[in-house]
């Protein structure tokens, strides 16, 4: 066997081990969700049951936390998508000497541990609300949205920057030359171009918010979200109901991922078809031109 064949075989083995590491723990947790045993385990398998799911559905704290998490995720999308877009647009036109300073500031939340973002937000708003009397801001939901948005906006900004790098400025100029106002250019040229990025930024923002624990655990104060309820439960002890929750999350995820994949494939197929038609038309024109030229 040649060295390359050995390498290939070793690589295959490694990939299998790697994905076993990635999925093994989750699969085992999944199985425990259906085992009758009150302790999450797979051996012995005492019988198939769906009881843990009904335990889950009857858990009031968990349901409350889920609703709160969904609501916070929605608010974070509303806050961090516009901010990220603005941040990216400002990045492309900020005063040159301030650019690296600006970059340092807006990227710093990505490189700051989440707990510290939560702490600093709570500390600042406690002080600020005491000074100004704006008591309604010092609330778990508001603070969590503010704290999460500070770094999630940086994520969305990076997504928008990547998209903006491919933006053709001449489109803007063409629209302006044709008499469009600045606001119209923004509304009818830039925003449609950014639309796919806005979609993916919203998805990323929602997911990052929904699964966040580090920042939330500080910023939520006495309130609770799904993640903080979960963490509390796990400190009390392990129950298969938690496995059931994980299974539910994964089921939703898998459906979502498959839908996303289908939409993406269909879009790609459509783009390909469009490109093929365009090429055909172009070739037809060329042949027609060539025919015209020979005829002449």
């Amino acid at each position: 066997m040649s060295t390359r064949a050995i390498h290939r075989a070793l690589m295959g083995v490694y990939i299998v081990i790697f994905f076993a590491y990635l999925f093994g723990p989750l699969l085992i947790m999944g199985v425990t969700a259906f085992n009758k045993s009150a302790y999450p385990q797979i051996m012995p398998f005492e019988g198939f049951t769906l009881d843990w799911f009904s335990v889950l559905a009857a858990d009031k704290d968990m349901i409350y936390g889920l609703q709160k998490s969904l609501w916070i995720g929605f608010l974070v999308v509303l806050v961090s998508v516009p901010i990220g877009l603005a941040g990216a647009l400002v990045m492309t036109q900020v005063y040159a000497r301030a650019r690296s300073f600006y970059y340092l500031i807006v990227v710093s939340p990505v490189l700051t541990p989440g707990v510290i973002i939560g702490i600093s937000t709570v500390v600042f708003w406690r002080q600020a609300t005491q000074m100004t009397g704006l008591k309604f801001i010092y609330d778990g939901t508001v603070l969590t949205v503010l704290a999460q948005s500070s770094f999630i906006s940086a994520y969305t900004m990076l997504i928008f920057l990547a998209r903006l790098a491919r933006f053709d400025r001449t489109l803007e100029e063409a629209a302006l030359d044709l008499g469009a106002s600045r606001a119209q250019v923004f509304r009818h040229v830039l925003l449609p171009f950014m639309l796919p990025a806005i979609g993916s930024a919203a998805v990323i923002a929602f997911l990052s918010s929904f699964e966040n624990y580090n920042t939330t655990t500080f910023a939520i104060l006495a309130d609770k979200t799904l993640t903080t309820v979960l963490a509390g439960r796990m400190r009390q002890g392990t129950t298969p109901a938690l496995s059931a929750l994980a299974v539910a999350v994964v089921a939703v995820t898998v459906v979502g991922a498959i839908l996303f994949e289908i939409v993406k494939r269909r879009e790609e197929a459509r783009a390909k078809a469009r490109a093929a038609t365009a090429e055909k038309a172009f070739n037809a024109e060329l042949t027609a031109d060539a025919a015209g030229a020979t005829a002449a």
């Binding site: 690589m11 490694y14 790697f18 994905f19 990635l22 723990p25 989750l26 085992i28 947790m29 302790y39 051996m43 516009p82 901010i83 877009l85 603005a86 036109q93 000497r97 301030a98 690296s100 500031i105 807006v106 710093s108 490189l111 541990p113 989440g114 707990v115 510290i116 973002i117 702490i119 600093s120 937000t121 500390v123 600042f124 708003w125 002080q127 600020a128 005491q130 704290a147 948005s149 906006s153 990076l158 106002s181 600045r182 606001a183 923004f186 624990y213 580090n214 500080f218 993640t227 979960l230 963490a231 796990m234 400190r235 392990t238 938690l242 496995s243 994980a246 999350v249 991922a257 994949e261």
Partner: protein, 339 residues
């Protein structure tokens, strides 16, 4: 120095910095005269310009800079009852940092062994986990970027992302199920006869370390993949044709090219590991003290926010030092890392 100074700095410094840059920009426009490019408002139209300024202003000033400054400010204040804040006793002090080092706000006789040890362990383990994640990810990232065909690549991407849709806490829980005394691994080892008594993996921190290494793998993977993906295939072919052994190709071609990716992956993994709080809570043994739960307890158990702020700042300082160290080691700029 009285603490009211801090208030002035927090509320005046950001507008001053913004005004300073605006002034510079205006002066430069004056100097350039008619040759200056179109101004900010001209370029965007006033509704959009207003939106940009308000959104970015709120974000940078109220959500990023001022909270951080407030935390720094608080960390230097003495613990006082709320009515005494800003009062005659509210002078800046180092007592919160002194407590971290010596376990007392006044005496410096004994070291605060518990907290110092937890801090040292957190930093040391985070560095090891970062290196481990690099070692685990590198072969896969190289395979995806250089060997796999498009269909397989897409499948692998999907498989990689899928586990990360599961909540961080539930992922830690999965490791708990694996590693407890009645857990799957112990059962399997007992059945095989490899051990005759269950091993306490949680107390031995095996569970914690494997859970942490698992938690942020994806960050390293995508940073490496993106970096290796841009490498010109011909370089590898050329090296191979010239007879370079495979490990030469990796050490002298692929890894130097992937430096920015390694840097950004390492920074993210380190920062996330050192700042993680879910995995240590769920997987940490009874004797293991991670640093973040200590910080949490300063706030919500000891209700000593001043001390908590100081502890948080110490953690942040460690992360900044690590980032600067990586930048220096790999000779990179910040722009190359945060992408």
């Amino acid at each position: 120095m009285h603490s009211s100074v801090g208030q002035w700095i927090i509320y005046l410094l950001p507008p001053l910095v913004v005004a300073g840059f605006a002034l510079l920009a205006i002066l430069e426009r004056r100097r350039l005269g008619p040759a200056a490019p179109a101004g900010f408002v001209d370029r965007n139209g006033w509704p959009v310009a207003l939106f940009l300024i308000v959104a970015v202003g709120l974000w940078t000033v109220f959500m990023i800079v001022m909270p951080l400054m407030a935390m720094v400010d608080l960390s230097f204040r003495p613990k006082l009852a709320p009515p005494q804040w800003g009062g005659p006793k509210d002078f800046y002090t180092l007592e919160n940092y002194r407590y971290f080092l010596f376990g007392s706000t006044t005496s410096t006789d004994a070291w605060n062994v518990t907290h110092l040890k937890a801090f040292g362990l957190t930093i040391w383990v985070s560095i090891l986990i970062t290196i481990l994640d690099f070692a685990i990810c590198y072969p896969i990232a190289f395979y995806m970027a250089r060997v796999a065909g498009p269909a397989r690549l897409r499948l692998m991407m999907l498989l990689l992302i899928a586990p990360y849709w599961v909540n961080e806490i539930l992922r830690a829980f999965a490791f708990r199920i694996l590693f407890t005394q009645q857990g799957v691994i112990n059962k399997a080892l007992l059945a095989m006869g490899a051990i005759d008594q269950p091993v306490d993996f949680i107390a031995a921190d095996v569970a914690l370390y494997s859970g942490l290494a698992y938690a942020y793998l994806l960050m390293m993977m995508f940073a490496l993949y993106n970096a290796i993906e841009t490498l010109d295939k011909n370089l590898i072919e050329a090296a191979r044709d010239l007879g370079a052994p495979w490990w030469h190709i990796h050490t002298f071609i692929v890894i130097p090219h992937a430096k920015p990716g390694i840097g950004s992956g390492a920074t993210l993994v380190f920062m996330l590991t050192a700042g993680s709080i879910a995995a240590p809570l769920i997987l940490g043994g009874p004797k293991t003290l991670w640093f973040t739960p200590i910080v949490y307890d300063r706030f919500y158990q000891a209700f000593n926010w001043q001390q908590g702020a100081a502890y948080a700042l110490i953690l942040l300082a460690a992360c900044v030092v690590f980032v600067l160290g990586v930048l220096k080691l790999f000779r990179l700029g910040l722009g190359e890392i945060a992408r």
